[in-house]
């Protein structure tokens, strides 16, 4: 430790610095940012950083995933349940390119993540050196920000910026590429957290007139509908949302990433919107007089055909990202700002209300959905097990307190439609990108981000095999995640579309699967397999009570479909029940 005296504006200030290597500086930056768990995979160009990780292993827990993609999804799972920035580390070349899917996933789902990649020495840049790839160029369209460090002294400031950008405003992934010579070179280390960047305004200023206009429209509404998204969770505004919903008596529906921001059994929670959402909120989107969108971005899977989406309604859009306003749906009343501030301001202006008759419409339509869809999904006299039964069984033992991590496909829709959630940050799934293979590694990160909670990964037999190697990470770290494979022997969602829209031509959707139980056993993970309904309850109980990692395979009906369904190009109100 040495003291450097610098003179500024006539005053003498004392600043403590230490001489360290670039690699050590990277670790010290992580510690300054409060990072204690990171996910990654070593390799040539990142070896100096790994050497420091060895020295700092009591302070930073490095989780060795079995593939760099797994590192990104684990970092995402960690970030999604904890609200902290997830960190993934990889080497140059293939290590870096293997991060791409996870980065794209984090970008479209607004997940705060910092990826650190090693890069070949700066003298080799552009020479097509061994394991050189232009990861900054490659990741540009899928990162909130990225930067290549070629000088050790840049590390503290750039890392501080990286964490600030990743977590502030609408969160997102940042990639920092560090040349090997910058990792080896030394610098005088001092750290100052980033508190602002002059060209970047993370949160628009609250405009009181926007809130007042919105409040007036809501107070005069006869048939208002709230649709909330992940913005509520990212903004930490879950309890405010609940207060708004209750005070104004407004039925509230959620997007897939908004799920768990409001308890699923809340009386005014009317279910999921979108392609495989609930019947009532989809139908009534095209009947409401005021549509109040909160922290959601009108994805095409939510809106169906935009020409027939809520045309009768006045649209109010609470949003932190100005680029989302009027992007897909014209907002008559945009309310820009931090949802925690805007909802608080709104709450003060709302008149207590109670839209009983309007709310009854949702209940009536739910009955219809129950008769046509839900009762069949939960029909215990059906010859084979349905996916929804398994989710319900998990609910029975979790009481709605577990984190459910789902992959992508039919089982994902079932997990979201039937999962019970009491607490926020409990639904972890790949919404925007639809990344098969997301769930297994994301569950590892989720459990580490919320060790006190049960984490259940619900995965299809297709997606499971895309990142099945992460069983090795589970074995090595002993992270007690619960894994449920809903095995229907098909890439079910694609098969469903083939059945409905391609005359049952099942092109490459039938899976010839290995013995999943044997594979899990190979990793010394506790296992069970259920093929009969009568075994299901006990098997789920044993899994939920296990203190160790647990693998449960459930053989489910092969050709079950997910309904309701809005066919591509149809209006939300043309949602099909069968």
């Amino acid at each position: 430790m040495e003291e450097v005296k610098t003179a500024s504006f006539g005053k003498v200030t004392t600043k403590e610095t230490t001489t360290v290597s670039g690699a050590e500086a990277v670790i010290k930056c992580l510690l300054e940012e409060g990072v204690d768990t990171i996910y990654g995979y070593p390799g040539g160009a990142i070896m100096p950083v790994y050497d420091e990780l060895f020295k700092y292993q009591d302070k930073v827990h490095h989780v060795l995933t079995r593939h760099e993609q797994g590192a990104t999804h684990a970092a995402q799972g960690y970030a999604r349940v904890s609200g902290k920035v997830g960190v993934a580390v990889a080497t140059s070349g293939p290590g870096a390119t293997n991060l791409v899917t996870g980065i794209a996933d984090a970008q479209i789902d607004s997940t705060p993540m910092v990826c650190i990649t090693g890069q070949v020495g700066s003298h080799l840049l552009g020479s097509d050196a061994f394991q050189e790839t232009d990861i900054v160029g490659i990741s540009t369209p899928i990162t909130k920000w990225n930067y290549q460090i070629t000088k050790a002294e840049e590390i503290p400031e750039v890392m501080a910026k990286a964490f600030y950008i990743a977590r502030s405003g609408r969160p997102g992934p940042v990639l920092i590429d560090i040349t090997k010579d910058a990792q080896f070179a030394s610098l005088e280390f001092s750290y100052k957290k980033c508190s602002g960047i002059r060209s970047y305004k993370p949160v628009p200023d609250l405009k009181m007139d926007e809130v007042e206009n919105a409040a007036e429209v809501i107070n005069n509404a006869k048939k208002p509908l709230i649709v909330f998204g992940q913005g509520v969770i990212l903004g930490g505004a879950e309890s405010l949302l609940k207060e708004v919903v209750e005070k104004a008596g407004i039925p509230a529906a959620w997007t897939i990433l908004g799920l768990s921001a409001l308890p699923t059994d809340h009386p005014l929670n009317v279910g999921m919107v979108g392609m495989h959402g609930n019947y009532a909120p989809n139908i009534l989107t095209n009947e409401c007089d005021v549509l109040i969108a909160i922290g959601m971005r009108f994805d095409d899977r939510v809106t169906g055909n935009l020409d027939h989406y809520a045309k009768q309604a006045k649209v109010i859009h609470f949003e932190i990202d100005p680029a989302e306003v009027n992007k897909n749906v014209k907002a008559d009343y945009p309310v820009l700002g931090d949802v925690k501030e805007t909802l608080q301001a709104l709450l003060n202006l709302l008149k207590p209300n109670n839209h009983t008759e309007w709310h009854n419409r949702f209940k009536e339509l739910y009955k219809k959905e129950y008769e046509k869809v839900i009762s069949h999904n939960l029909d215990l006299s059906a010859p084979e097990i349905h996916m929804a039964e398994v989710i319900k069984e998990i609910n029975n033992f979790s009481n709605g307190d577990a984190v459910i991590v789902s992959d992508v496909g039919q089982h994902q829709m079932k997990a979201c439609r039937y999962g019970k959630f009491n607490k926020t940050r409990s639904n972890v799934t790949s919404g925007g990108l639809g990344t098969m293979g997301f769930a297994l590694p994301a569950a590892i990160g989720a459990k580490m981000g919320a060790p006190e909670r049960d984490v259940v990964a619900v995965i299809g037999d297709g997606g499971y095999q895309m990142t099945i190697q992460e069983l090795g990470t589970i074995f090595q770290t002993k992270v007690p995640v619960k894994i449920v494979i809903l095995n229907n022997g098909f890439l079910g969602m694609v098969r469903q579309w083939q059945q409905l829209f391609f005359d049952k031509r099942y092109a490459s959707t039938e899976m010839v699967n290995p013995d999943f139980v044997t594979i899990a056993k190979g990793y010394h993970i506790k296992t069970n397999r259920v093929t009969e309904r009568s075994e299901l309850k006990d098997a789920v109980k044993e899994m939920m009570e296990s203190d160790e990692a647990y693998f449960l395979e459930v053989k489910v009906e092969q050709e079950e479909n997910v309904f309701p369904m809005i066919p591509t190009g149809a209006a939300v109100s043309d949602i099909l029940l069968e």
Binding site: G137, W145, Q148, S199, A323
Partner: protein, 178 residues
């Protein structure tokens, strides 16, 4: 909605890689960039990109939103041709013998306010600054004389109304100073 020429002015930090980030925003939406120039701006250390695209107003508004979302973009603006004063520069290289044999060329140059930049034994270089149509017109006129080379710059433009970048930066400095 009708497609129009829009001039996009983007004030940015001077950062390596920002050009590809900006270009990617247009590429992702399959929008062709008609011309692009990068230069210093009126504010010290602030860069200015001037991009011309032909799109609808709805499209350009969304593009501006995406541009402003980029961390190192300070502000982005869009303007129609009527709202800007814009110019392009072109260079025409012509064989000297052609030029000397035909006095018409010298008349064209005078009429169009073009300028002779260089004269050598073998070639002449003529420069013309003006609107796209004027530059194109001179191109057509000179073409029969055998253009050895032709190059045209991107459009550069200043707007009739204000783009208050200094104010934005000052506001940041006052709110973030300790």
């Amino acid at each position: 909605m009708e497609k129009k020429n829009y001039t996009v002015s983007i004030y940015t930090e001077n950062n390596l890689g920002l050009l590809s980030r900006i270009a990617a925003i247009f590429l992702k939406r399959h929008i062709n960039i008609e011309s692009i120039t990068a230069s210093p701006s009126e504010v010290t250390e602030v860069m200015r990109f001037t991009i011309i695209v032909e799109v609808t107003e709805d499209q350009i508004k969304k593009i501006i939103g995406q541009l402003e979302k980029q961390i190192e973009v300070i502000r982005a603006f869009y303007h129609t041709d009527e709202e800007t004063i814009y110019q392009e520069t072109a260079l025409y290289k012509i064989k000297s013998d052609e030029f000397l044999d035909d006095h018409n060329i010298q008349d064209f140059i005078k009429e169009t306010n073009a300028r002779i930049v260089t004269v050598t034994k073998s070639f002449f270089v003529i420069e013309k600054t003006g609107k796209r149509s004027e530059v194109d017109q001179l191109y057509e006129t000179l073409k029969p004389y055998g253009l050895m080379q032709f190059v045209r710059s991107g459009t550069i433009a200043v707007t009739k109304n204000e783009m208050p970048i200094s104010g934005i930066l000052e506001k940041f400095n006052t709110t973030n100073s300790i």
